[in-house]
């Protein structure tokens, strides 16, 4: 055989091997979250069956729907109330942002299933898609990816991503936003932020991450800090990306002004939930020191306070790793709700994708922590699902 032919054959073999390697990787990236989605479903279902006499899947979906989930079901089915609120109620649904309930309502218009079943499927799909988007964000680190998928879909808080809460969509869109920023696609990041701001109020805070990434890019190109505003003003595409970021929040504000007469009804209605503005440090301290009984187990306020501290500490680690945009976004997204009280703090921390991705990366650095986490996450999923089904207050 002539040498040229041999070389060509070897090159083809290399290319084929590379192709099959890529194909295997793609299959793994797609299959890992699928496996965890299925195992998560099985574990949560097992926890549900251990408590319920009715083993049907609809009963399972209904049982997982607790706390805010019920508000979102009503919102998706009935929309927002005007004022006065029917049934002599003080609490309008205005505090719950519209994007995810609208999405579920849109799917319901074409699928003949109850709202909670559709929302459950949509949430798992969002969780699955979040994992796929996280692959490049985790720098294609296989171990971190496996842990992240396990956490989101089979982990101790996976029930948030398997029922009607805003977290599944929030995590997905947050991941899309940071992927767009990683690729310096500011318009996509701005559009993601607009969607995020229509999903939860704190979503709008991601605009700071966008501006910080723009600033970093400007500095990488050799621009001075003082010249940043002028550089920004010379780029209408960047200005549009910033201005489009709060579009979801503004659209909702306009809707509330037209229907209720108060564009800030989403904030004002918090009074009816008993939320009072205060010092976040005091709320955390009060939570930490709340231990009225002799049990060694932390109380729900203590768990909430510890979750807030852990979340802020992880935001600090992001800052140390020079991920300033993500750090600021996460810190603000925790501090803002902390100014009213500790309610839902565990869920808010779990719903911040940069924090959970960071945790997955940190745990994946050693084989031992990786192996321990891969085993512990599904085991914790079972017991935390039981706690969730038992209305454990810290998980609100």
């Amino acid at each position: 055989m002539p040498p040229a032919r041999v070389e060509a054959d070897l090159a083809l073999e290399d290319a084929a091997r590379a192709n099959s390697g890529i194909r295997l990787m793609v299959i793994a990236v797609v299959a890992v979250p699928l496996l965890f989605a299925l195992s998560g479903l099985a574990i949560r279902y097992a926890a549900f069956v251990s408590l319920s006499a009715d083993p049907s899947l609809t009963a399972y979906a209904r049982a997982l729907c607790r706390w805010d989930c019920k508000w979102y079901v009503d919102l998706s089915e009935q929309g927002y109330e005007r004022f006065p609120i029917p049934n002599h109620n003080n609490i309008g649904r205005w505090g719950f942002f519209p994007l995810y309930p609208m999405l579920v309502a849109a799917i319901r218009s074409v699928l003949p299933f109850p709202t909670i079943v559709i929302a459950t499927m949509a949430s798992v799909a969002c969780g699955y898609a979040s994992c796929l988007v996280a692959w490049p964000l985790l720098e294609k680190n296989v171990r971190a990816y496996v842990l992240y998928c396990a956490f989101l879909l089979s982990g101790p808080f996976s029930f948030y991503f398997a029922t009607f809460m805003t977290e599944p969509l929030f995590v997905l869109v947050t991941s899309c936003l940071f992927l767009a920023l990683k690729r310096s696609n500011y318009l996509a990041a701005g559009l993601s932020c607009a969607l995020l701001s229509a999903t939860r109020l704190v979503g709008v805070l991601a605009v700071f991450a966008i501006v910080i990434r723009m600033f970093e890019e400007h500095r990488q190109m050799g621009g001075s800090a003082i010249a940043f505003p002028r550089w920004l003003l010379s780029r209408p595409d960047l200005i549009i990306a910033i201005l489009i970021s709060p579009a979801g929040l503004f659209a909702y504000t306009l809707f509330l002004h037209v229907t209720v007469g108060d564009g800030f009804a989403f904030a004002h209605v918090q009074r009816a939930f008993g939320r009072v503005a205060g010092n976040p440090l005091l709320f955390v301290w009060d939570g930490l020191s709340y231990h009225p009984n002799a049990s060694w187990l932390p109380t729900a306020p203590q768990w909430s306070a510890m979750a807030a501290i852990a979340g802020l500490a992880l935001a600090g680690v992001l800052a140390v790793r020079r991920q300033y945009g993500a750090a600021l976004f996460c810190a603000l997204a925790l501090i803002l709700p902390l100014t009213t009280n500790l309610a839902s703090m565990v869920r808010y921390v779990v719903g911040l994708a940069p924090l959970t991705m960071l945790t997955a990366s940190l745990l994946s650095t050693s084989r031992l922590t990786f192996a321990a986490a891969v085993i512990a996450l599904p085991v914790a999923c079972y017991f935390m699902t039981i706690a969730w089904l038992g209305d454990y207050l810290a998980l609100v």
Partner: protein
């Protein structure tokens, strides 16, 4: 090619269009902000949600009541009481209807205007949490302060006071307000809308 890349190497027309779009976004957002800063709401909404001057959100409800009858506020017999409860109440439950917040209101429609004076008889119990063992209740009717009662201990107390004809408007709608200056907060950081003060067990008016 991304649009952002296009604008970087764009001619003046594309840049101008970009600035125009940015200006449109900014103008729309400012306009919405201006609308949101000027809410178009009624006084009840403003007082409860925005100014936070009351914990009792007025509701459009009125209970029909004929003097001489005792109305129960316990869960097993509160059918007549429920339409009277405007706001600031939680329940009814077995031991009565609990006050919620700094103020509670009852609104009732009288079939005919009282001749001279109505005698109100209320059975109430204080919500106590040691060291606080009593509750002060200030009762008004249609804005006229009528009575103040100090309820001590958990046992129900019967409170009696007169409602002058002048406190009942010609519409025959009697609006009674209960203010609780000593309400018990759930916790130091908790909202006042959850303050607890009294349990109302029964209500009665008699024409004198």
């Amino acid at each position: 090619m991304l649009w952002s890349e296009a604008t970087r190497s764009a001619g003046p027309a594309v840049l101008l269009a970009g600035y125009g779009l940015a200006a449109a976004f900014a103008a729309a957002e400012l306009a919405i902000l201006a609308l949101a800063l000027n809410p178009n709401v009624n006084d009840d909404y403003r007082a409860y949600y925005i100014d936070k001057t009351t914990t009792c959100l007025n509701r459009d409800t009125v209970g029909r009541y004929t003097p001489g009858r005792t109305v129960s506020f316990r869960s097993n017999s509160a059918r007549e009481a429920i339409p009277m409860m405007v706001c600031g109440w939680d329940g009814p439950v077995a031991d009565g209807t609990h006050s919620l917040g700094e103020t509670s209101r009852l609104r009732l429609s009288l079939p005919s205007l009282p001749g001279d004076v109505l005698l109100a008889t209320l059975e109430m119990a204080a919500v106590i949490r040691p060291p606080q063992l009593s509750q002060l209740v200030v009762i008004s009717a249609n804005g006229v302060r009528l009575h103040q009662a100090m309820l001590s201990g958990p046992a129900p107390t019967t409170v009696t006071f007169a409602i002058p004809r002048a406190a009942v408007p010609d519409t025959g709608i009697l609006e009674m307000e209960f203010d609780y200056p000593d309400g018990i907060a759930q916790s130091p950081a908790a909202s006042k809308i959850y303050n607890r003060s009294i349990k109302l067990l029964s209500f009665r008016l008699d024409a004198l």
